[in-house]
Symmetry: C3
Subunit: 158 residues, 3 copies
Amino acid sequence: MEIERKLQSMGLALPSAYTAPEGLKLPFAQVRRYGNRALVSGHGPLNPDGSLRSPFGKVGAEASSDEGYQAARATALAVLGSLQRELGDLDRVAAWLRVFGMVNVAPGFTQTPAVINGFSDLILELYGAGVGRHARSAIGVAELPFGMLVEVEAEVAL
Amino acid sequence: MEIERKLQSMGLALPSAYTAPEGLKLPFAQVRRYGNRALVSGHGPLNPDGSLRSPFGKVGAEASSDEGYQAARATALAVLGSLQRELGDLDRVAAWLRVFGMVNVAPGFTQTPAVINGFSDLILELYGAGVGRHARSAIGVAELPFGMLVEVEAEVAL
Amino acid sequence: MEIERKLQSMGLALPSAYTAPEGLKLPFAQVRRYGNRALVSGHGPLNPDGSLRSPFGKVGAEASSDEGYQAARATALAVLGSLQRELGDLDRVAAWLRVFGMVNVAPGFTQTPAVINGFSDLILELYGAGVGRHARSAIGVAELPFGMLVEVEAEVAL
């Protein structure tokens, strides 16, 4: 439980599982494990209770690039929470492989890599440059579910 | 051929292979099989003859959320058609792994998960909660090829 | 070094590694290798020195579909450059698996497959229809980093 200890020493807690808005079914798995692969569904930033974390809207309009960075960091915690529930122990991640970062952008906001750095920085801080090493994209999308600022889909090896 | 039988009992038929617009080359495979993995190209909703299925345009403008749901369900049939042609038998899918759902959205349409449920619901209905279990994202994109309402890229294990 | 020889005989050179704008950290790997998989980060079109290649902006506004095609072809060279630096020899690619093509689109530009053909055509020219065979999506996104015309994320097997 080394990663969990690091999180604690950094004063970071993992949020509860995402709770969908009333009336919405989410007929998929937050993490799909198969063999030594774990495919991680698109996650957004969460509050400790599993509700979506504000602000909502567009980075470059309703939210600043720095708020986007913080949202991406919170998204990393949400992903780690899902992995923790699936794997029992975050040390079971043998390698981060792929991080696909999507930013809910206002027209003309092109600094999407700086936003998704909030995700990558935390993963590297926790897992180091070896296990934490990942391929990444960071794009601007037209809309994200419920107006989330950021969404990240990922894959890790076990 | 259990999945094919289920489809038949539900009154569902798989569409023919997608036929590109005249003059457009599509230099890629609808399904790329490698080892026990099958990577599925982005598919959209098709008519039985393999032509793109209307309506076209934006969910939240030219089309309703429910029409988007139906388009996502038709997209699942198109994907199953491609898998059937590649694998010969849809029972050869050992596990659904990843569903990446893209919705052609009008500004402000953020109910993308409800749309992509049209895809997930059919997969789960056919394959059940074990084999059908998948990781998923459901995002809103700026444009899709030829104005399709929905596009889904996927990966399954064999 | 057969692929490198083909590139040379076609008069094509691989660009240097991408150099991020001053002050921007890019805390991820251009290629993440794990087992026999190589996951390729989102790449854009580069100049020979590794700087981003103009034009910038939207396909369908600041740039034509043909300029988009050329950008996608240049993006393939950038990806091959990263793979060459990671693998030492481009012949080590045993199979192209997945090409995820993103086009920075003006509203209403839906000919994204024709743009991403610039990537697929070059891969098939170099690797042939067996090794080069890939699954693909080609979508229109709201924004790409720094206004690049095209971005491609990929996976290959080794």
